[in-house]
């Protein structure tokens, strides 16, 4: 039972992070390697808002989430907009540079020390006992819930929402979409802000559960195989991919060797790339724009 809970929690973490990669890739075919850093920025934003709205934890959390939404738009408007039409590799490298910048800023503002946003907000983190005898911490439970909510909302939005449809159209054929009067920049900015939002949610909830250091971006990178196994342009794929990677990791830790957990996501990834490069649910595509 505990193993099952562990898989669900880890899968939720990976899935919530992975959907950020998917949103941007699906719409603009750019791989955002600064996602981990943006996620960390969201979590650190809580520290800032916590001192601003001391005594109102909910306000602080909402403010941090809104802030991350704004950051996403700003990143697009001031940076990624300039990279549309450039080499894919150059766009990816820009996100890497952005990541370096954010890491520098974070150390500059908050120092490299371990921080506890939950403590700053005055929120507890009790352990809950589930009916089958499994244990889960409150914030992990909230994370699982948030994940379910985010995916339902996103899938619904992309399927039925007006802007969601525009996002899908822009992803399928940007030229045609632009000719039909879809505001591509608006769509891209929306994708970036949504992606930063979900990333920040993941970052904030993880930080509330277990504290925050400048190592968080690495976890963002670890969620990447999940997105790729499922297919970089499919939300359902990200969910399934996260589940597969998380299950492989948890079961290997328990039954084989904990050391393998670091390499295994990438082994799964290589296996996937050999059999079905575009992922379980991804669309097959020609990708040779170097």
């Amino acid at each position: 039972m505990q193993l099952f809970v562990n898989i669900v929690v880890l899968a939720s973490i990976y899935a919530l992070i992975a959907c950020g990669y998917v949103l941007i890739y699906r719409v603009s075919r750019v791989l955002n390697l600064a996602h981990g850093e943006l996620m960390m920025l969201g979590a650190y934003a809580v520290l800032a808002t916590a001192s601003l709205f001391s005594g109102h934890p909910v306000m602080a959390l909402v403010a941090a989430v809104v802030l991350s939404l704004v950051v996403g738009v700003l990143v697009y408007v001031f940076l990624m907009r300039k990279m549309t039409g450039e080499m894919v590799l150059a766009a990816i490298l820009t996100t890497v540079a952005l990541g370096i910048l954010i890491r520098g800023i974070v150390v500059l503002v908050w120092s490299a020390q371990q921080q506890y946003p939950a403590q700053a907000l005055g929120l507890p983190n009790p352990s809950l006992v589930l009916p089958g005898g499994g244990h889960i911490s409150m914030w992990s439970a909230v994370l699982v819930g948030t994940n379910v909510f985010v995916y339902t909302a996103l899938l619904g939005f992309l399927r039925f929402g007006r802007w969601g449809m525009r996002m899908r159209a822009a992803g399928q054929n940007p030229l045609l979409a632009a000719q039909r009067g879809i505001n591509l920049h608006g769509v891209y900015a929306l994708a970036w802000s949504l992606s930063t939002l979900t990333g920040a949610l993941a970052g904030i909830l993880m930080a509330l559960d277990s504290g925050l250091t400048a190592t968080m971006p690495v976890i963002g990178l670890k969620a990447f195989p999940a997105a790729l196994v499922g297919g970089l342009d499919s939300l359902v794929g990200a969910l399934v991919g996260a589940l597969i990677v998380a299950a492989a990791e948890v079961l290997l830790i328990y039954y084989v060797d904990p050391l393998l957990s670091d390499v295994v996501p990438f082994l799964v990834l290589v296996a996937m790339l050999i059999v079905r490069p575009w992922g379980l649910f991804g669309t097959r595509e020609e990708l040779d724009r170097v």
Partner: protein, 384 residues
């Protein structure tokens, strides 16, 4: 050509550095001031800087100031190598300091050997080469040390446990921590305990619960962790979350004090070689005042390690006289005794053969319901 122009610009920039006053002791440090592991090193380096500033304000050593040059290596070995080379060849440092991850040791040692400049590990874990018989060039002031720490920890476990001990281990997947935990596992067998499980956890881990689940299912009565603080404390938190209620013992890093207060866990023990600040020693007050005056962003409680390094450097330079060169400094460092004024259990004493400590002292602390309490006072171990 462009290449030349650029290189010229760089060298011009390098030369334009304020010409180092040659009537000062130059001490160079390469440390992990940025990057993921910097939380362990940056506070210590900041403390060292504040201490040296204090020495200079008091008029310096032997009437000369100390110039402390800080270089950041971000825990990257290649950058550390370049830093060490620069500090030795360009800045003519008489003493090289390392405050970084163990992965930077190899290149820094290589540079120090090539130039014959003594190397002091300050706040980075002591390598085996400073234990007797010591490498002539390497010295260490850091509180934590491979093998002895586990010996002290397991002694404490054995003494305080009633009945047979089933012990679990947790390490971070970096060579140093793994090596120490492997050593502790062997040692625990020799001491009559039963090792039940050993978890080696990769540094970036989203969730520690899967590792803790396995550890808990092995049914240990004690768990011992010797790793960077994150791994130690997150393993504990994950175990507690799963409802494991037995004793947990870990190494007391810089963060110990604030973390014991935060966790408020009556069965979490830390083994320390530095006194915690709640002891309220005069020297600790002095550190607090200095930190406040300098406007450091790190709490004073994390500064003992850097302060001790500063005291040792001051003493070593004093012994070396003026002008100091590498050979004189080495001789001074080989006959050194520094009173730690209660920050440690005893003085730091170096001999020709021992660049570590002749005697090690360990204290054990835990949270006793209302405050941090000493569970075991200084216990000493001879270093042979």
């Amino acid at each position: 050509m462009l290449k030349r122009i650029l290189l010229g610009a760089i060298s011009a920039a390098a030369l334009a550095l304020p010409a180092l006053a040659q009537d000062a002791y130059v001490v160079g440090l390469t440390g992990a001031l940025t990057g993921p592991p910097s939380s362990t090193y940056a506070p210590a380096v900041d403390a060292l800087r504040i201490y040296i500033d204090g020495v200079n304000a008091r008029g310096g050593v032997n009437g000369k100031k100390i110039t402390l040059l800080l270089e950041d290596d971000g825990a990257q070995p290649s950058k550390a190598a370049a830093n060490a080379k620069k500090l030795i060849t360009q800045d003519k440092a008489v003493l090289l300091l390392n405050a970084s991850l163990s992965s930077t040791y190899a290149p820094v040692i290589a540079e120090s050997k090539a130039a014959g400049v003594p190397l002091l590990f300050a706040s980075s874990v002591c390598p085996q080469s400073v234990y007797p018989p010591a490498d002539p060039l390497q010295f260490c002031t850091t509180g934590f040390a491979a093998n002895y720490d586990s010996q002290a920890t397991l002694d404490f476990v054995k003494a305080s446990a009633k009945g047979p001990v089933k012990i679990g281990f947790s390490a971070m997947a970096i060579p140093l921590s793994r090596g120490e935990i492997d050593y502790a596992e062997e040692l625990s067998k020799k001491m009559g305990m039963t090792p039940v499980d050993k978890e080696v956890i990769p540094p970036p881990t989203a969730d520690y619960t899967p590792f803790a689940t396995k550890l808990k299912d092995a049914g240990p009565t004690w768990v011992y962790s010797w790793a960077p603080w994150v791994t130690q404390v997150r393993t504990l938190e994950a175990l507690r979350k799963l409802g494991w209620q037995d004793d947990y013992i870990a190494w007391g890093h810089l963060e110990t004090e604030s973390e014991l207060v935060r966790l408020k866990d009556g069965k979490f023990y830390t083994v320390n070689s530095n006194s915690l600040f709640q002891e309220g020693l005069p020297i600790q007050k002095e550190i607090e005042d200095a930190a406040k005056k300098a406007g450091s962003k790190y709490p004073a409680a994390t500064m003992a390690e850097g302060w001790i390094a500063g005291m040792v450097i001051e003493a070593a330079l004093k012994g070396a006289g003026w002008p100091a060169d590498a050979a004189k400094l080495r001789t001074a460092m080989e006959n050194l005794k520094v009173d730690t004024k209660g920050l440690r259990g005893g003085p730091i004493e170096w001999t020709k053969n021992n660049h570590f400590r002749t005697k090690l002292y360990y204290r054990v602390y835990k949270w006793d319901g209302s405050k941090i309490a000493r569970v075991q006072d200084w216990k000493s171990y001879d270093v042979k």
